[in-house]
Symmetry: D2
Subunit: 368 residues, 4 copies
């Protein structure tokens, strides 16, 4: 299978579960000569790390990346790059009834139905623990894309009914995002979000939200007809993240109520560059980048694990009450941001390589 | 590249553009022994066909499928199946200024940026003409899935601000859908939609909408961690369709305002089957089917081609006014339904094969 | 599945069988801007065509290529390119006992075992008829590679115990190869080969041989560790051709009796180019091209279809005598040459694109 | 890229080089429920291990496999399985001139040409060190295939001009192979081979050979038209191993001098099984298994590293003399056997899964 792989030219393959020895990612096709050390991976891993603030789970994992191969004298060699993040806590514990129970909203039942049994420790492969490998790979893509000035920044746009006011999504900086623990660039709204999360936690509940991700300085020409459209690959990447239930780019669902005359962005020249007046098309036309910044959004459901007891069944079909111990994120959004960014980074790196392989003249013209 | 391929085990590869000789699809991995003739492909092709009603474009293409290979004595052989749909109208026409103009909302500019030039006749490969090949392949998948009782039905949920009332999406039948020309099972709303489309057409404008697609009798166990989640592959499939700008399944974007305690569907037994009380999870948990029906939605933007003049630029960067002749769909939704269904059918066929290859015991237990 | 696909960046997918309507190939990833018309495909198709000379089968098929998509105004567009070759002769015939018999050396039994039944007309998908699609695609690759001066020439080295004397394989020209009907550049040996084939045909028998293929002006750097080594992909390509039973490159099996001290080719400079003194390494080291010409060989078994009666069994396990009517090639080698070349061309085109996508600096340096 | 991946359903991806921290393999698609522990991997790793006998290199690496993920309570979970083998010896050493020199027969120059620079420590990714990951994965495939009684046994057939006499390749047992340190089941010839290797080592030289690999109890039906023929995938697998220069199956190159009437194996019934009288077809017809045992051969070149000085050039094109220190295998064949077996095991596991996914009726009929 290649269910555990993503991308074609910049192709990652991951393995690892919640309580195995380690999570690992292999990157196949990374260009040679990119300066890379383990320190480059740490900032994004730290942004994703559990226990980073009072609005996240209080579990603690150091999440230190070890580069196993593919880097020599500080540079990528062009051969397969492997990164491992060991799981700090593999203690065998008493999982009690959990091993037989089907936690609501989780993949316990579906894994059993698919495979016949499951690694019940912390959700096994269905745990969001696996995203640590994506984030490590995304950090490599970030370094590569930086060579072309391409930047990807994500932030929390909405938690519950609290919606941040963002004057211009394309002006949001990483510093603004990182200036508060919910990663929302609207400082006032961020305060309310933090309060809301704390309240939800006290109520032994959880809450969902929406993240927005922007990619800037993307060249026109990325994406391939017809199934490899960039919007399709971005959608796959984002929707492959645990808890994501919806994806849109540009005007997204709002196109439903729009007329063509208002939805079409008008082309014009600014200097020698083709631009559009607005950006309802979210930076992609025909699934290929237009050179305008990319804008996308993903909805993240409220954490399924709750401290409050929930009714369910066990493997034998008997009614049970599920109570999960309380060290879960009451809201996934703050830690989701770097994961979402990683999938965007990986998708862009992949398509940049594909474009420059197939159409070097256009590539070279653009970057000359 | 494999930008023109979709799926792994039931894998399609398509080629063809608006004004080439033909569109063609190769299906690799279709199981042997499925009864199949060209007549089986026609109903879905007819549902997608231009000129089918007064709310669609008045262009006329017969869209007759020719099976080139892979069927013998009325049954699939298990070897590569190829289907060709010839383009009826390849007359060379005067494309006038179109060849140099960048039509707003279209891929003219992005194709030029990517490849250096483009086949400007009718949009070339970026034309929705290519979806004819997907629909033909989807009809093959439909026949295969029918052997397992799996059914896929789509319909129009919304056009502009007109939203159909659907009591239970999972009870909507193909007959209801096909009972009117907009493919909306709410008959009263359908009337309004038809009126709206006519009005929009008169205004030389276009309008967007939302389609909803349901899959029933889907076994639990389809989908693969972590990038091959069914929700991710469905998203890629749907988002790869021209004009689709958003995707959601189950509660979709509504999870943003939900608490975990309300969003989690409760497991229970009905007879010897595991079911959930509600279906906010849209039939997938951890990206793997739960055995509950699948529900998804896609937003489709208003047709970019408008009869009214629109400002734009040409290849040389000069300001121009674009007017496209009036035989375009004023609303894409009615013809979108079979295309959306096709992508769902293809995704399910693919994952059914993957599951029964990797986990035959679970597969056989379920279907015994 | 992707059993019907070959390559990654320059990726072909084929469909078609002996007696279906047509054979078709889709090329995904072909660079834009290559001058291409149907006339470009014909020379290689003619070299493969049945009925071309007295040493081949006397069946006649025009094998005319039709480009269905991907070419506009005489140039490839960069989007999916499809080529169709219709099967001239699809008359339904009386296949008599053939439909139940397992012809010795053929895939009748293995297809039945795999799929449960088979298209028995002319071997169905297992017929060498499918190679017509490869040759059409190979001709496209040839045009692309010509832009870089890369040339691929194959010829017959051996038929039975007749072994051509070739002073320097790297000097053999296409003209020499095409100067006789067995495609052997040793004119004297070619005469003997023709005589041998005629004799074999009279004896209602068939005979095997060895083809040799050379690729010149190949840049150093093609091929990827570790499974994507060029030698591995070439081997897959060649071994995927019907009737091929052995593959070797450079010294091939002769390395078994060699000492390292004699087998290692010595590096030296000629001008500013790195070359080796000999070329026992066949142009690849570590599975990556060295810049020296590539040399490979493939063994082709004697045609399995014989006019003389052969003992076998039928589907019911009963002993039968198989007699196939006499219009088969008594020796496959003359028509094999363009097919083998096609697989080499496709493999090189694929790896050239992969290299220039991943390592543009090295690519550009070499070709500057 | 997917140069570092092999297979489709049972798909491995590897990373790792000679002197990085570790070699790692991810297996995607391994069926659930296979009993597996690290101890299962060790026997094959030990057969490949350096320092195992006096005819191999005297370097010592423990080559202990660590399962990082995909196994729970002693069974495969069906999710991504990762295995890591740490590199014992990563000491930084003085590589002296080696870092600039192009060792004859090695990939030093081709890696430089491809990537612009290289990890020169021990050959980096081009080192046969990477095969440790293949062997670990092959051991997993071996456990899976054993459930179907499928067995793969390889042995050394030839070293230099010493050719073992093997009465019946299909009767050779693993015990016979492991009864001597060259892994040649002809005990008398084995003695001579050992002597020859010692002599070659004394002469500061190396020597090549041929390995033969047999697969028994393989069902008919494995392999896919047309590029996914089993013979093609086996060829790719074998040719992807470092130092392999030739591949053949069944009669191999000997078909060149054969007549069809002698080369065709005659079908007959033995009980209710279809068999052939001889097995010149090596167990595959039309690239699909016939149910007869598979037989293949690979030629392995003499080790390129020699203790004796060899002339070459360095990165600057200057003439140099290369002397590599003496801890290399004077003959690769004894350690090659488990590596070759691994590639056959992986190919068979992959195609078994593909077949049972696409054609479950045929699969179930055969194994009922």
């Amino acid at each position: 299978m290649s269910g555990n792989s993503f991308g074609q030219q910049f192709r990652i393959t991951t393995a690892g579960e919640s309580h195995g020895k380690a999570n690992v990612v292999i990157i196949d096709g990374c260009p040679p000569g990119i300066a890379l050390s383990e320190a480059d991976l740490q900032p994004d891993l730290d942004r994703r790390r559990p226990g980073q603030s009072k609005v996240t789970t209080q579990r603690r994992e150091p999440d230190t990346a070890k580069i196993l191969s593919g880097v020599f004298e500080g540079k990528t060699t062009g051969t397969a790059l492997a990164v491992m993040i060991e799981n700090a806590d593999q203690r065998s514990r008493d999982y009690g009834n959990i091993k037989d129970q089907y936690r609501p909203g989780h993949a316990d039942y579906t894994y059993d139905a698919k495979y016949g049994f499951r690694d019940y420790r912390g959700g096994g492969r269905s745990s969001a623990r696996e995203t640590v490998a994506r984030v490590a790979a995304g950090a490599v893509a970030r370094k590569f894309l930086a060579e072309y000035g391409i930047e990807v920044v994500g932030y929390v746009r909405q938690i519950g009914d609290l919606i941040a006011e963002i004057e211009d999504p394309f002006q949001v900086t990483m510093d603004q995002v990182e200036s508060n623990i919910v990663r929302c660039p609207d400082a006032a709204c961020a305060e309310q979000m933090i309060e809301r999360i704390n309240q939800v936690r006290k109520e032994q509940d959880s809450i969902g939200g929406v993240a927005e991700i922007v990619a800037k300085n993307v060249p026109p020409g990325l994406g391939e007809p017809v199934f490899g459209k960039l919007k399709a690959d971005l959608a796959q990447g984002m929707m492959s993240i645990p808890a994501v239930t919806a994806f849109e780019y540009g005007a997204g669902f709002a196109v439903a109520t729009a007329r063509g005359s208002e939805n079409n962005d008008v082309f014009q020249m600014v200097g020698d560059r083709v631009v559009t007046e607005g950006n309802r098309h979210g930076g992609m036309l025909g699934g290929i980048t237009s050179g305008m910044p990319i804008l996308l959004r993903a909805a993240v459901k409220p954490t399924s694990s709750l401290s409050q007891p929930q009714p369910s069944i066990n493997r034998r079909g008997e009614a049970v009450e599920v109570s999960t111990r309380g060290r879960h994120d009451p809201c996934l959004l703050p830690r989701f941001v770097p994961i979402g960014e990683a999938m965007v980074l990986l998708t862009l790196a992949d398509h940049l390589l594909r474009w420059r392989g197939q159409c070097p003249d256009q590539f070279n013209t653009y970057y000359s």
